[in-house]
Symmetry: C2
């Protein structure tokens, strides 16, 4: 087991009706800015619940943090927050709203352009931030990461800021989500776990078990959710799984990968494809191209998640990679670039960007431009 | 899934050599009191590491927090801390030193007798506290609970105070522990998980998997540790398992039991038997007497932890309870009261205490005096 530091101070407030506790959770006297996405919270009742919970408090609202939140939008929110002397942010939405708000929180205490913070990869100071989660996928409600896009250059980059002070997760807020968003959320959750699990075997038995626990849960609940998206218990497991998949709890003492994510971010930046949908495609290429390097974990993943224990090791790995792809297809997602109309032009651009930036991602830092091309060709 | 709040702010600093970071972890200017147990840290080098790491800082030392820490000792530590104007506590030891120090931390900010805090069950204010863990079992290094004994009345009660600010876990500090202490630590860890798992089935698939992940890990590492107590990876898993077994991470949205612990505490109070050793006995009685109530989880526990999937359900439960007892015996621990010379007199006293206090513990709150007697008779 490798040395590690774990420190996640976010308070998780989980369950039906918990939005009503907002006012007791936000310290008195704070000048609050509430940030929203495109308006679905008006239709599903979450906006009304938030307003009701904050009766007697004062706040300003910022609307319009878009999917794959852009620094252009963040700049507008920072300007509004400054104008009102805001010192507490409440993000109400999914991962995009929360990620954008993390950069707003840092931007409010930074004199220059917020994109500087993204390029530096790290925010030194932030206004405190809390969330009401309405779409589970990114885990941003309980981690310190955020991914920001820059429209003018079609870039998409991650930075690390602060953990939310608290996050409210009410599974009922997810009942009215489009089925495709939930499918992408399940895919995102599954691949978040794989990024921390599909690495060198025998680093930590316990972390392996916890990662596998999330994978098995997602596998089991996916058909239940497809059958009934208002199944409270299944949606609770989904919300909890998405949070625990990326809140540092399954990465204690183990190495990580994240090459699939970095390639996926390029596909989103270039094509606007939803993050989870990019992962459902790229992960298949990653596993095929890096099957030797990931051999031990692929065998373990096959046996413990997909029940594949018969045949030669090569056959078991073949079946495991096929079972994994079949799972993403069962979610209704594409697993090949061609299904999304993505071809050589994009592959060449991703390779070019990796080379131009000197990227070398993945556990073994061997996913450079040439390897990114091979991975994309393997899921073509 | 039940509504829940999870909020664990402790920073976990894990691995070889991490004690050297003490000085950067304790804020400058703090008047530190370091609390110790009986002196084993002088023999195993931990004391020297702590002193070296704190070079240039000032502190006062309090020695002699005993196993099953007593309020009598805590009173002395509070007096010393007051005398020196202490505003930061560093507990160096196992669960007993940490538990005792939690009451010192609360006692320093309380005008009356610390036992009042224990009786109230909750500390309102505490001086900040950190730990260097040298013996894994109780999980106290990453939770807000503590169990305190009162020698004059032979009582042992739990209270809730603060989470440590940080805890340093270096697996090498456990290499020189007596084998019996490690066996008791493994038993304690295993039963901590069972208290949060062996309840109503289907409350959370994910929490079940995480609980089972710890149980499987403990089961797998126990023989490795018996073979070589200086196996760094195995001792790392042991330390991590003990912490994660009782730091709130496996109890999100699920009910808990804790009746076995409450009966075990009485055995410690009356006989001085080590905490983990009491659990290794009582749990067998609990599972036998409550087998109907715990039927669904016993079947799941049998299948997923012990691989028992053949035979009628009653047979499977029989085999599961037997496998569980055999595991504790494999640790070298007693699993029957008679092996520890405990008989009717103690059973009667435990029953009397439960009745006198109106206790009704367990998930179903049905472990009263009569049920405690039945449980103890079933592990006689």
């Amino acid at each position: 087991m490798n040395n590690f530091i774990y420190h996640n101070p976010t308070e998780l407030v989980f369950g039906k009706g918990q939005i009503a506790r907002l006012s007791e959770l936000i310290p008195a006297g704070k000048r609050i800015m509430i940030t929203f996405g495109g308006g679905s919270v008006r239709r599903n009742g979450v906006y009304d619940q938030v307003v009701h919970a904050l009766e007697g408090r004062e706040w300003v609202e910022f609307w319009g943090i878009e999917p794959n939140p852009s620094v252009e939008t963040v700049r507008e929110a920072v300007a509004l927050g400054r104008e009102h002397g805001v010192d507490f942010l409440l993000a109400v939405g999914g991962g995009s709203v929360i990620d954008g708000t993390k950069l707003v929180a840092a931007g409010l205490l930074y004199d220059g352009d917020p994109w500087d913070i993204v390029l530096r990869g790290k925010a030194d100071r932030s206004v405190p931030l809390a969330t009401v989660l309405t779409m589970s996928a990114t885990g941003s409600e309980m981690n310190n990461g955020a991914v920001i896009s820059r429209r003018e250059t079609r870039e998409k980059l991650a930075f690390y800021g602060q953990y939310p002070v608290f996050s409210i997760l009410d599974p009922e807020t997810t009942f009215s989500l489009p089925a495709r968003q939930i499918a992408c959320g399940l895919a995102d959750t599954f691949v978040h776990v794989l990024e921390q699990y599909m690495t060198t075997p025998n680093q930590s038995r316990l972390m392996d078990r916890w990662a596998e626990g999330i994978l098995l849960t997602v596998k089991e609940i996916a058909p239940l959710i497809r059958a009934d998206q208002r199944n409270y218990d299944a949606m609770s497991e989904y919300m909890l799984a998405a949070t625990l998949a990326l809140n540092d709890m399954i990465r204690m003492g183990v190495t990580q990968d994240w090459a699939t994510h970095r390639i996926g971010h390029e596909l989103t930046a270039l094509h606007g494809l939803t993050h989870g949908a990019t992962l459902a495609i790229v992960i298949n290429g990653t596993l095929r191209v890096l099957r030797k390097q990931k051999r031990g974990k692929l065998l373990q993943f096959g046996e413990r998640i997909w029940g594949i224990a018969e045949g030669s090791e090569e056959e078991r790995i073949d079946h495991t990679i096929a079972a994994n792809e079949a799972f993403f297809r069962s979610l209704g997602l594409s697993t090949r670039l061609s299904e999304e109309g993505i071809g050589e032009e994009t592959i060449a651009e991703v390779e070019r960007r990796f080379n131009a930036n000197g990227y070398a991602f993945g556990e073994a830092q061997n996913v450079d431009g040439a390897m990114a091309r091979r991975i994309l060709e393997a899921c073509r």
